[in-house]
Symmetry: D2
Amino acid sequence: MTTQTLAITNVTLIDGLGGVPVRPATILVADGRFLSSGRAGDIRTPEGAEVVDGTGKWMIPGFVNGNVHLLDAWMFMVGPGTIEYLARWEGRYVEVIEEAAQLVLRNGVTTVFDTYNAVDHVLGARDRINAGTAQGARIFAAGAIVGMGGPFSADFHFAGRRAATQSFVNRIDAQFEAGVGHQLSLLPRKEVRAAVRDYLQRGVDLLKIAVSDHIFMTVGLDRSYQTFSRPVLDVIVEEARAAGVPVLTHSLSVEALETSVELGADVLIHANYTMGQPYPHELVDKIVASDSWAELQTVHEQHRHALEEAGSWAAVLGGGAFSENERTLIGAGAKIIMGTDAGCSSNDHLADLTEAEREDRPWTLGNDHFHWTRSMVEKGMTPLEAISAATINVARSYGKADTLGSIESGKLADFVLLDADPTADIRHLRAIDAVYKDGERIERDALPTQSLVTGHPA
Amino acid sequence: MTTQTLAITNVTLIDGLGGVPVRPATILVADGRFLSSGRAGDIRTPEGAEVVDGTGKWMIPGFVNGNVHLLDAWMFMVGPGTIEYLARWEGRYVEVIEEAAQLVLRNGVTTVFDTYNAVDHVLGARDRINAGTAQGARIFAAGAIVGMGGPFSADFHFAGRRAATQSFVNRIDAQFEAGVGHQLSLLPRKEVRAAVRDYLQRGVDLLKIAVSDHIFMTVGLDRSYQTFSRPVLDVIVEEARAAGVPVLTHSLSVEALETSVELGADVLIHANYTMGQPYPHELVDKIVASDSWAELQTVHEQHRHALEEAGSWAAVLGGGAFSENERTLIGAGAKIIMGTDAGCSSNDHLADLTEAEREDRPWTLGNDHFHWTRSMVEKGMTPLEAISAATINVARSYGKADTLGSIESGKLADFVLLDADPTADIRHLRAIDAVYKDGERIERDALPTQSLVTGHPA
Amino acid sequence: MTTQTLAITNVTLIDGLGGVPVRPATILVADGRFLSSGRAGDIRTPEGAEVVDGTGKWMIPGFVNGNVHLLDAWMFMVGPGTIEYLARWEGRYVEVIEEAAQLVLRNGVTTVFDTYNAVDHVLGARDRINAGTAQGARIFAAGAIVGMGGPFSADFHFAGRRAATQSFVNRIDAQFEAGVGHQLSLLPRKEVRAAVRDYLQRGVDLLKIAVSDHIFMTVGLDRSYQTFSRPVLDVIVEEARAAGVPVLTHSLSVEALETSVELGADVLIHANYTMGQPYPHELVDKIVASDSWAELQTVHEQHRHALEEAGSWAAVLGGGAFSENERTLIGAGAKIIMGTDAGCSSNDHLADLTEAEREDRPWTLGNDHFHWTRSMVEKGMTPLEAISAATINVARSYGKADTLGSIESGKLADFVLLDADPTADIRHLRAIDAVYKDGERIERDALPTQSLVTGHPA
Amino acid sequence: MTTQTLAITNVTLIDGLGGVPVRPATILVADGRFLSSGRAGDIRTPEGAEVVDGTGKWMIPGFVNGNVHLLDAWMFMVGPGTIEYLARWEGRYVEVIEEAAQLVLRNGVTTVFDTYNAVDHVLGARDRINAGTAQGARIFAAGAIVGMGGPFSADFHFAGRRAATQSFVNRIDAQFEAGVGHQLSLLPRKEVRAAVRDYLQRGVDLLKIAVSDHIFMTVGLDRSYQTFSRPVLDVIVEEARAAGVPVLTHSLSVEALETSVELGADVLIHANYTMGQPYPHELVDKIVASDSWAELQTVHEQHRHALEEAGSWAAVLGGGAFSENERTLIGAGAKIIMGTDAGCSSNDHLADLTEAEREDRPWTLGNDHFHWTRSMVEKGMTPLEAISAATINVARSYGKADTLGSIESGKLADFVLLDADPTADIRHLRAIDAVYKDGERIERDALPTQSLVTGHPA
């Protein structure tokens, strides 16, 4: 980290906390953290500081994505592509995860919360990035999802089990399940407690619980079950609390969402996914009254149209109760965070899509946060609210607001300079001039440092 | 019904209640009910009575099977055969159900509890038999299982959906789901309540709840979920109680079984099925202390060996935790009833099996109760206990002990005369001399009156 | 048959032979045959004759369909519906075939050539209709196709094998294969000869040879093989010739079609089906120069559009080389006959289709010949040519022109009276006033006498 | 190559030509070729020669395998493993092929004929080995098989198409089909000729023709078709002859084998594979009278037993008509060559097998030729005949006998020194002391130089 002070001057400051932008503002950075920020007249730029003239620019906090899968887990649901992707890069997952973390960093995302991944590999990349050995967005990782299976289980590409060797699929699934996979649903409470406790000792940053099942891709979209009984869920949450890690819940039905709120989950992953059932009124009240943050996954209107025209099943995710629930929560003033489920997509997988499906796809890392913020504004947020949802809110939801998510003194100096006003048009978030992480300007053109996934096939 | 008194004299009486057999005994029957029974010296045979000399014979109550599917639902799990069976007999399911009810009656089963079937059809057959329009064992029926899908859902022969017309599969599934199928898992509590209430108004005798899922045939045997959250389960049970019908639970894991006991279920269907997990000790205590009756499904040793040698997956049902659980409950003094899941099996389906698998198959109606009682003695019951479990216990569990299940004054005169002593060898239950239902001797050789399923192909 | 003479008077006569219609014409019928026909002035109506006043009507020969599958074999390719159809009507196929023969008769088709069916059943229906025991169009039948498998082989609904019992699928396949199925492709010549000879002794009217394979539904549309080597084909044709039955060939590629012509086939079934390859010029010349008749299968433009909009794979059959080949053969003056592959379609199967696909569907018996003639006029025939192709040409191709296919003295008195002029608009063929077979007026409204397939589900 | 003369002295010489071994013999090698060989007394070792004392050793020609697939094509039939193997090594197939060529060289095989592979990759490896850039057995390659599809076509792992991206499967299939795949079956003769001519210009060493189809893995083992009509086959052979390359035929039925002989094929690949039909007598005579060489694929008895006990479908390849045909051809004096279909097997694929299946597996490169020679002696050859079949015969069949396949003056000095007498026990071929190729001693322990496939997963 630099010891020289950095001063951003004459910039329009959007600090992430939702207040009116400050213009002109000066922001000082030292030792990788924000030193101070405020109206230009209130902040004195120290001598010898490196000055970046922010005239005509907007400064926002680095984006924080509350739900990614740096290895492309979305593909595991779709199916085709899973075997070849996991085989091609086997032994190099840490590198792929770093490539993903660089793709997002290049586009202004300075921190990501990875909520499902091959455990050791995502922790390996996290540690390498933290140590400065590798570049990339800062990673916090859940690793496995308690109660959910690996890529070749019925939760994802089940048909792939028959098209691959058993040695391979079992080896891969074990890397994602890490002893707390779907088999936990069969165990008595005592054994569940022991397994979760063992798992937490691997050093994960978060614990994600499959309150709902994830077998819809195998059995259809007309049912959703509770993975565990309530007493078992209580056991799992107890263990997470004892370990001091935030609790995330995966739910796919109104009942599972209600259960998640009752459990006191910190983050309700894809809270708008209720298999086409609009929220009952009482549930909305309950969410709003709770301490839980709702992660919403969203598809903006233009892409929804493209999906519909392409005949893609995914079109359903952009309409009906999915989007109605988004509007409801926004309207009710629920606490909302950004999450996208996006990953480092294989070019072969993308090539199977239509042009329309590929264009501004919400599940491809790099553009996903632009897609998300645009869609949230369509659904009822102001641009400033959308920016907060994509920065400080995520930090708060995961208990990282002391160091991340806004431009405030003492926090890590992660920020983005824009060439256009995002409050005028949320799509201006794409107009990135520069990205800083830990106070350091990112050489965006040098990222990713290695194009494994994004460069294949040559 | 006859008005002439019938006297069974000089018989060895096993009244079903578990006491020492009475020999010689006299039993009087009039108006379809037992008038009196006891030691020969204590009972006077009235003049004009029709006398059946029971010398050398044993008299037991008519068998009561606590869990059958008169249309062969077992096949729906296995898959192949489902489409052709349901198509071939479409429009004639009432006749098939009657054929099944006659097959069992011929073999001494005078009452059955059908816990999953095409609702209107099983109720139709029930009513025809009750009205005397058709012959057959007395039927009490649950119809649909709350939360479970039809034959072509992922709960059973899911692959069959792709090999049949959608019109057909949807039509058939609707007959089994009756508005309370697996889609209920998606609904909020209020809507679940309304759906269950509507369903109960169809006039079913029992309400069966899928506490566990039933998707293992589609997604594998390494997971089992809770179909509903506990609050939703409470709603369902409330409705059953309000309607005054017994509650049955389907569970496949230790957690779902514990939930079922906590719900106060009257009957725990296949209580020994816990996906290979032996019961935790506390659960056994809880079952024993509860008012719930455990229905056990069992495979005797000889058949288990046959299944193993034939490489049948079903072999697992006869060993491991499945049989260990049976022994545990018997040893702990739990309240146990007979149930077999048996149905009216298609000959084409049976022909696909090996000779070994067909021989004394526990899932083919007619012999299933012999199989069951034999296996229970292997697992620890005395013959008299096995007979009680297969008669009076079933009546008690379903709240029918005032009229059914034992040879006691005032009860329906359903009984079987045997030519050999079942307390000496439980397999002597097969030595049927005569079957009486409602005091009438059954013309066994005339059953079934019509061989649709059992006579196809000619 | 009647012995009273029947006179059709004042009618416009289209005798099927292609000449200018005669108006007014008189046609005399006696003993089920045409006695004479000609200009009204040339024919004297005998006294006592039953006179039908044909004023304002057109008289054409009864249609002759050169390629049907009275049990709905088209469905076997599509897949879903096959199991349920074959199971539901098992034991009643003769009745279904008769129902089909009545459906077509009602619509003016007095003779059909069934080129693939359950052998004994189609011969049974043929014999019953010939004997007057059952009503229906006159049937000539091939039964099995030499070298092709049954409904559950890879030639048709292969996936259905896994969704049905092996007993059932083997039993059904055996009824269609009759010892000359696809397994013949493995045998040495001598054994092929013996098998074909045995088969011919069953009394079939025609021998159809799979010159091409039929596995495209299983392996895709990008290949087509020769079922047999040329020496083996020669053996098969020799046996047919020795038995005195016409030879039909099934071919799906230009090479197989050329082979078929070289074999001297009487009828080239779906001669326009060459997997998307337009005919090489030399092949057209060869066909025209040969004695072979080309059966064309066709989709008219309006239906092709409907199929395209519905996203149906079958749309391809109405365009590209399929229709180009039709135009080529018509333009080159090849000898062409009507055939439709239509069958007695299940309502459940039809219900799975879109409205657009069902509307005037070419593969549903009853309207198929109207579809065909309309399409042929679109492809270049005159209306009179289309009528000849749908009547006398079929009779000629199968060697039945001495008794069938035109309105000529001595031939069987099969004819149709129309209320509108088909030469003005070929669609007027639908304007049927009356149908006569063997000189008898058909009670059209009474057909089918039994609605098994067409009345299910009620 | 060395210019110093090498002398092998006092060795027992088995020159591959079938005559009585010569002992003691001296063999001189210079410039990579045999200079002379004969009785020790007849050959003078020149001064300065490097002398290898062959006392107690046996010298045989380097093995020549007439049918391998250096990338493991056998796996493509089995299915699972195909996607991951082809994805994992994509971009490195040349290296994998070299690894395979080194595995065999290490075990004494100095030349292989690769009859199906990714065309450019196998030619690339061939050229690198020929140029001395890479080590390995000498490769002659066919590349594509005319009329056969790639790994993801219905000829191999068809189900894999649905578990992989279309981009990937199409890219891979194109590398194996090279414009002469199964789609050729649809084309008219003229277009077939053009495609084959183009293909031959790629520089392949051999032309292999799919006389039979290869779709049995998709459609079952009860049929086999002719890929092409005879006129088309004639066209293909003409092109091969014009290009001066040997013609190999793939056939799977007695008819296709007979056609292959009639075509004048140089090598009849797996001539014993006739789908369970024993050869008709006339066919045996025809083969013997022809100039064609029969490549037999064989499974020795011990392995056949292992396969049967493991329940492997492959057991059938070791018995019935498969082995009966082998004995028949050996007994009739047909010209026979070694071929094994073996490839560089993935460890994951092997791990899916039972221990019994893996042990001495005939389809894993390295031991396959030991398996083959052992089995041939079981089927009726003398050890010397088996050695000739595995050396000089292969060279003769492919027209390479002027330079390869025996220890004769002027030929390439490829040979193996053994520590035990293979004429006493054919299994002594495994007792390899040293392998020489082009007169150079191979550093066997250094092979393979890179363990990609054989070292994965680490």
